[in-house]
Symmetry: C2
Subunit: 434 residues, 2 copies
């Protein structure tokens, strides 16, 4: 691929950690883009791109701890933000935009949390913010939604957007392990952080589905309105039962535009059909399924994190932007999101799902009748019901699948079940997405 | 999504069949694009977009049988070619380009066969040819390769690129049917043409992999150099044996850039691992897996044909092009392929694969030894070998999996096997892609 006009574009890079280093290595000897300055925390750290630099024309790579100097440099046209986290990223990106710099970022926390104010500011200053790398690493879902599928009206996005939890669930199934063993293994392999809360709790996936919902449905999403439930309570038994019933247990991020105009957006473990393409998303991979009125269901599966996939998306955005800027000072009018309204979010209690339920009950006559009566009084209709003999502690384990019912009704039924004297424990409630 | 500047773009549409009608319906009341003329074969046919037109501002839609008039109309900036087939599409698109029209097409035959001359002509005339819809309908694989993943060096494309054959293979497996019954059913449902040769023989998939290879590897491909083998000889037994061995049988289009610079490009039935995301591509769906140095493996799965998915891709290309033209007379410099060299294609005999083989032999001592000796003399190393009892006709059925070996060697071994007196029949040879 060759660009029709060639004029060097100078950029500033904020951050030289894992992502930043990958970007530097990819830009050495780039025909069009030159990194003028790299903003780092400390100057004395040995960098893994050091060796490559020695052999390139870019041996002049200039590092500085003065990040403000970078975002205000009049020769720099594009700021690549690879700091991660909310601060100082927010302040630096804000200042960069005010100085008419275009932004390329891999920072999902920043976009999901401060996207609205940054996009407003970018529009005022006539600059672009590109953020393909902020959602699912190398998977080109943002450009696909915004550009290539621009003819579609979208109705649904559903995905596996967190590699750590998908690795844990995949390992539990393939090796018959419990949650904690798999988490420990993931930490040893670097697939999980020392503090895995953000991944395991579903928060990381919530950021991503909030960003994608906003693009697909043209309405801003407040991140704290996204219902979020993690995989901490998932047991091997849940995973194996899903398989037995023709499902697979995954941590699903879901967003649907409902007929009433509300958006049903949430992250939680769910049973999905084994024939769903997302069921075959294994290990640290991510997958995103979108549904458009013309394209139907389209699924993208790939690496959702890591230095190289994230670099693929950052450099992809950067090359397209630089190609435009080398041609004219002003970037080309793209299909840019111009929405400023906030979405009305469907409260979790109003969502409709099927449910899988596991109960531990006393082993005595009348238990099944009691469960049935409680469910019936809350309009919960049972689709499948299994009791298999008696446990060692003389309790019985009962599993159930319900037909579609409002979340509020199943929760009320469960509250009542918990009070029933024959029910020892409600062990898990997992939503089933058909 | 809102465009920053709005100036109506007039287009000409060639063809008002299934694809053309979908395009017309999508463009009614479009804020930016107006269809000035529609080229059709006959004027008296009732069109399924007739009713929509009556209710829109576009009741002026002008149809004509003079297609030359459309491609030479000075007010028309973009020609959408939805005729299909090689002629008159080739002559009309050529004339349109000479008249400085940009082209959007869904025509894979045209691009795969006459792409080189058309792209050369487009470059001379400074116009664009966009053809997302020509490969795998709604799946945005071309823009993904050319634009979003522009930072990657690609090494492999592998896909299920024909919905008809994938429907047949899926039905054979799920309903235990034979090939002919499934083909008949596919024809009844409109998933297969009355003459299904192009689909079933692999030719349709060969066009598509030729186009994608050319984009990914920046070298032109001669369509008749693509090794092509269809699914006509596939039996239910082959499909079930694949499942037993942990594989799935699919019609695979494959293209790899080899270390020697040659391209290994081909279409044939193959066993792929059940864990490969392509194994879960079911029914009429298509799937494409690409491997890039940064992104790793990325798989896209969706509808590969049909009015709506094809319209999604055509209108997607058209909107992006129209947005550029409404902003300036000249379209924006994109990452356009500028390669003009033809690829060196690896001859099929030099490719390296594992193989699955089914033999019918006499049931007598020494048979296994004979097979082993012949394979050994051709350097074919056996990975797995199964014989299960005796058939009704007193023959024995033997299945084998080989280790990796050159195609030439396995073919020589098979030629020799066929001559061996104890071998009744070599029933099938299917490549195994690891």
């Amino acid at each position: 691929m060759v660009l029709t006009k060639q004029k060097t574009i100078q950029i500033g890079l904020l951050g030289a950690g894992v992502v930043g280093s990958g970007i530097i290595k990819s830009l050495l000897n780039h025909p069009l883009i030159k990194i003028k300055k790299i903003g780092v925390k400390g100057l004395n750290k040995k960098r893994d791109w050091g060796d490559s630099v020695g052999n390139s024309r870019d041996c002049s790579l200039q590092t500085t701890t003065n990040l403000t100097e970078i975002v205000t440099d009049p020769e720099i046209q594009i700021i690549v933000e690879a700091l991660g986290g909310l601060n100082p990223a927010r302040d630096l990106v804000t200042l960069a935009i005010k100085n008419k710099k275009h932004i390329v970022t891999a920072n999902k926390d920043l976009i999901a949390t401060y996207g609205p104010e940054l996009f407003d500011l970018a529009r005022e200053n006539n600059v672009q913010i590109q953020f393909e790398a902020s959602v699912c690493g190398g998977i080109p879902i943002i450009n696909t939604l915004k550009q290539t599928l621009n003819a579609n009206k979208f109705s649904k996005i559903m995905g596996i957007m967190n590699g750590t939890t998908n690795y844990i669930l995949t390992e539990m199934l393939s090796k018959n392990l419990n949650f904690n063993d798999c988490l420990n293994e993931a930490q040893k392999l670097g697939y999980a952080e020392p503090d895995p809360t953000s991944d395991v709790s579903g928060k990381d996936a919530a950021y991503k589905i909030a960003i994608l919902s906003s693009i697909a449905f043209h309405e801003r999403i407040k991140i704290n309105e996204v219902y979020t439930e993690g995989i901490e309570k998932i047991t091997l038994l849940d995973i194996l039962t899903a398989e037995e019933l023709g499902y697979r247990l995954k941590l699903i991020a879901l967003s649907k535009k409902e007929d009433d105009g509300k958006i049903d957006v949430r992250v939680h473990p769910a049973f999905i059909k084994q024939t769903n393409p997302l069921a075959s998303v294994l290990g640290v991979n991510n997958g995103v399924l979108v549904e458009g009125d013309l394209v139907g269901e389209l699924t993208l599966i790939g690496r959702g994190a890591g230095q190289s996939p994230t670099t693929s998306s950052v450099i992809g955005d950067l090359n397209l932007l630089a190609a435009q800027l080398s041609y004219s000072r002003e970037p080309h009018p793209q299909f840019v999101c111009h929405h400023t309204e906030y979405a009305k979010i469907k409260p979790m209690k109003d969502t409709v799902n099927c449910y899988f339920l596991r109960l531990k009950t006393e082993d005595k006559p009348g238990v099944v009748g009691q469960i049935g009566t409680i469910f019936g009084s809350h309009d919960v209709s049972i689709n499948a019901f299994t009791q298999r003999g008696i446990n060692h502690d003389d309790t019985a384990s009962i599993t159930m699948l319900t037909h579609k019912v409002k979340e509020e009704k199943i929760q009320n039924a469960i509250t009542e079940l918990k009070k029933a004297n024959s029910i020892k424990q409600v062990e898990n409630l997992i939503r089933v997405l058909e």
